[in-house]
């Protein structure tokens, strides 16, 4: 086949598929969000934003992202640099650290439930140590701080691996000579990290952060498994609109709000970590 | 019988003109080298002949058949690639036999031909190995054997020796030349290494900025470069140039000296190879800047009338930095170029 036509033939299936299942539903969701049956309206948005749970769920989502993402970034960077200079057991350690990559948010929620539930392992440990006499019901409305902590821990536990993988791959692309050159010029390990690793890692940091932040706004099953309705987030509210309230217009409006926040943060990250043209490895 | 004709071939990549107006005929069984610096279009031309690239304009004929619209497999060619392209998932045997299998030749014929070419390239011991277990030189041999096993009319080689170390390159150069002469195929060989070109070619096509500047035998290209580019590209060190002004009657003033030359009235460039200079009583006054003893001779870099000028002299001479030499050019080796066209002037 002609080399001019062939590439288009090859990308046709993906393009068609994404148009049908990505762009088209996107248009649909937008249409649904901006209409209540008779023409263009912002009623859906007014309704969901005006609902008393909206500020709480927005605040919860943002707080959770703000608590989780920086910790994950720091942890992933630490793990990546540790792995980078490991000689023995590197593969095993990397495998162990990437295990959560394959674990769904629902499973992660259930795993941490085993720790935090009333008859769970945390209570067993605390009573074993004599700290508490009776098991505490941590995941209840009396302990909102613990609920938040449990969700944050589960998220950090589950989703640091994806950043780790991206960063390890990124560090692997940085030629060793740069470090050797820096060492010859007298840079300390910390300086080598801040002056060489971090700047050259920018493309990977970008990807990792964008992906992670978007996932943070989609947080859903972990929250449901651990907090139930105690800790409303944007995604669980969307789910509630669709199923409990059967209001798909409002659900669509929520979806667009989540989308807008995600895009906003993506642009901020891309802008903050942009790589000057020609300054790539 | 495979004569190759390239007629009016041009190639554009977007707005970049990679090749312009290429016309070249390569005789049956000739060893043609395409020589030039990187980016001159030599590899593009080879790939157009192979069918890996389509020419924007022009025609390619192989063995009296127009082939520019045929895929590579139907052109009767075989090719040796710069990075050898030995298939990593196949043994050496299956690599050499790959093309034969594609032609659906019977097993015993494949075996016979693979063993014969492997013997020719001295790799019969390696037939069971995979590419990862071979050295660069061995991979090179597999790549050549794979091409030869096809018994092609034309064999195309794209800088096949450029990834080998110096010693191996010299060894393979001679071996490749011998094997190809034996096989009676037409060969086109792309290189940027003038020593390779000089030592292997029947004819060299020197390319520059998408054009063939000169296509001639190695000694012709060396002795009678058709243009200043060729004179400056071939030879190590390259030819010396000095501005020359007409003094009437076929006499020319070069750095204050009067020399015989063509009868022209516009200024020319005088050119001489460094090895065609001798110290003498009369000649060009050269102020010595650097002396490099190379064993067999002495490479002396000087300044003549403010211009850079090199001479290759007998190593017995005692020359020191700061000396002034008087260098006489060997009259029958002097060449003249028109600075307007940069072409040689008879």
């Amino acid at each position: 086949m002609n080399a001019r036509v062939l590439p288009y033939v090859l990308i046709l299936p993906v393009t068609a598929f994404l148009c049908l299942f990505f762009l088209y539903p996107f248009v649909l969701v937008a249409k649904q969000a901006f209409s209540t049956g008779d023409g263009f309206t912002l009623d859906n948005f007014r309704q969901v934003v005006g609902y008393w749970k909206f500020p709480i769920s927005l605040q919860n989502t943002l707080l959770l992202a703000a608590a989780v993402v920086p910790v994950q970034l720091a942890l992933a960077l630490l793990m990546a640099t540790m792995v980078n200079k490991m000689q023995r057991g590197r593969d095993l350690v990397l495998y162990v650290w990437t295990i959560p990559l394959g674990i769904s948010d629902l499973a992660a929620g259930i795993i941490w439930l085993a720790i935090f539930e009333q008859s769970g392992f945390l209570n067993s440990m605390l009573s074993g140590l004599g700290v508490v006499d009776r098991p505490v019901n941590f995941l209840s409305y009396q302990h909102p701080g613990v609920v938040f902590l449990a969700i944050a821990l589960a998220e950090i536990w589950r989703a640091t691996a994806i950043m780790l993988v991206i960063l390890v791959a990124g560090i692997g692309l940085i030629p060793k000579e740069y470090y050797e050159a820096a060492e010859v010029f007298g840079a300390s390990p910390w300086k080598r990290f801040t002056r060489i690793t971090l700047p050259l890692l920018r493309p990977s940091l970008q990807t990792a952060l964008v992906l992670r932040v978007i996932l943070a706004f989609e947080v859903f099953a972990v929250v449901l498994a651990l907090g139930g309705t105690l800790f409303p987030v944007l995604m669980s509210e969307t789910y509630a609109y669709q199923f409990d309230l059967l209001d798909s217009g409002a659900a669509a409006a929520m979806a667009l709000i989540i989308l807008a926040i995600s895009i906003g943060f993506t642009l901020i990250i891309l802008r903050a970590l942009r790589v000057p043209k020609g300054a790539t490895i | 019988m495979a004569e190759i004709q390239i007629k009016n071939v041009a190639k554009r990549f977007g707005s970049y003109q990679a090749l312009r107006d290429i016309n070249l005929t390569i005789q049956d069984q000739e060893f043609m080298v395409l020589l030039g610096a990187s980016g001159c279009g030599k590899t593009t031309l080879l790939r157009i002949i192979a069918g890996l690239e389509t020419a924007t304009e022009g025609e390619v004929w192989i063995g009296g058949r127009r082939v520019d619209h045929l895929p590579p497999k139907d052109r009767g060619i075989a090719m040796v690639f710069q990075n050898y392209a030995v298939f990593p998932h196949l043994t050496v045997f299956e690599n050499i036999g790959f093309g034969l299998r594609m032609q659906k030749l019977p097993n015993d014929e494949v075996k016979r031909r693979v063993e014969r070419t492997a013997g020719l390239m001295h790799i019969d011991q390696l037939l069971g190995r995979y590419s990862g277990e071979l050295s660069g030189g061995q991979r090179q041999r597999v790549a050549v054997a794979r091409a030869l096993a096809m018994e092609p009319d034309v064999i195309l080689m794209d800088e096949p020796l450029s990834n080998l170390d110096a010693l191996l390159r010299m060894e393979m150069r001679a071996e490749l030349k011998g094997v190809l002469a034996e096989s009676n195929t037409t060969a086109i060989y792309v290189t940027h290494d003038q020593v390779e070109a000089m030592s292997m070619a029947d004819r060299i096509s020197v390319m520059h900025q998408g054009k063939i500047v000169q296509a001639a035998s190695p000694i012709e290209v060396y002795r009678n470069p058709a243009a200043e580019f060729v004179a400056g590209f071939i030879g190590n060190p390259p030819m010396n140039f000095l501005p020359a002004t007409p003094a009437g009657d076929g006499k020319w003033t070069v750095a204050g000296q009067i020399l015989d030359g063509p009868s022209r009235t516009t200024p020319l460039h005088f050119a001489i190879r460094p090895e065609d200079l001798r110290p003498a009583d009369t000649g060009l006054a050269a102020m010595v800047k650097v002396v490099e003893p190379l064993g067999a001779h002495l490479l002396v870099t000087c300044s003549v009338d403010g211009a850079l000028f090199r001479a290759v002299l007998d190593s017995d001479l005692t020359v020191r930095r700061g000396d002034t030499l008087t260098l006489a050019p060997q009259p029958d080796r002097v060449r003249w170029f028109d600075p307007e066209t940069t072409l040689a002037v008879a």
Binding site: I11, V96, L106 | L52, M79, F87
Partner: protein
């Protein structure tokens, strides 16, 4: 004097640093593994133990919970649905995605940048949200509450990864190998099947497995798009507030195990896949 002290001190600090380093590695491994171990204890304990207090810190190897899980109404069909959806997603995302990955790695064509942008864009979207309008569309086309319908949505999730990963895999195969095959008598297609495919097959398998895991783990779209034919994730989510603890833990365990095996199977490729895929 001073030189002597530094000579003695230097190895000491270095050794201390080394211990800190090893301790940190072990601690971080424990951080990942211990919660998994707790899940394992719960799964391999009888329902009574799971609901009792305090918890033992070693499993009693009782299959009661798993037995209860297997006998719970609807769970086996949910498991079957999960496998079917993930399998379909795996096949579709590779069959649809790999050609595009090949096109991106081998050709320069008009609109290539726009196409790449479309692919990257999908990664910047909270894709499960699109399940909402699709639910309506599926009801119209009869795809609602079907394994195939859900796998279409999951394929949308997996396709950007499939395209970018296969793109990086194909880019790792030198074009020269294909060209050599062409000059040796292959067409584009036979060069692909005889040279490229054998070299790329392990990588393709890895990205297929990755697609499987993406689908296997997906919760939101699965919960939105299925009612009768729930996948395991959707089933567990639906019954989170009503189902007993031992069912949740056994279900969580069943969710985790295949993912663990698959990540183990593709561990070699994870980093290579992400290395180039993020350019």
């Amino acid at each position: 004097m001073t030189t002597v002290t530094t000579d003695v001190a230097a190895p000491d600090t270095r050794r201390a640093g080394r211990y800190v380093y090893i301790a940190a590695v072990v601690l971080l491994c424990a951080w990942v593994l211990v919660p998994l171990y707790f899940l394992l204890i719960n799964t391999l304990s009888s329902p009574e133990t799971v609901n009792s207090f305090p918890k033992p810190f070693i499993p009693e190897f009782d299959l009661g919970s798993l037995g209860f899980f297997a006998g719970f109404a609807g769970i086996l069909s949910a498991l079957k649905n999960s496998i079917l959806v993930a399998g379909l997603t795996m096949i579709m995302s590779i069959l649809i995605g790999a050609p595009a990955g090949y096109a991106l790695s081998r050709f320069d064509f008009r609109g290539k940048e726009a196409f790449r942008l479309l692919i990257l864009l999908t990664r910047a979207f909270p894709l499960p949200l699109l399940a909402l309008p699709l639910a309506v569309m599926f009801i119209r086309t009869g795809l609602d509450d079907t394994v195939f319908g859900l796998s279409l949505v999951h394929t949308t999730l997996a396709i950007p990864f499939a395209v970018l990963i296969t793109f990086s895999l194909f880019s790792g195969i030198p074009l020269e190998l294909e060209e050599a095959a062409w000059t040796l008598g292959c067409t584009r297609l036979t060069a692909f099947t005889k040279v490229v495919l054998p070299l790329i097959l392990p990588g393709i398998t890895a990205s297929a497995i990755f697609a499987f895991v993406i689908s296997w783990n997906e919760v939101f779209a699965a919960a939105v798009l299925t009612i009768e034919n729930r996948t395991l994730t959707a089933f567990l989510l639906q019954n989170l507030d009503t189902s007993p603890l031992h069912l949740k833990f056994a279900g969580g365990f069943i969710l985790v195990v295949p993912a663990l095996i698959f990540i183990f199977a593709v561990r070699k490729y994870l980093f290579a896949m992400w290395g180039i895929a993020n350019r």
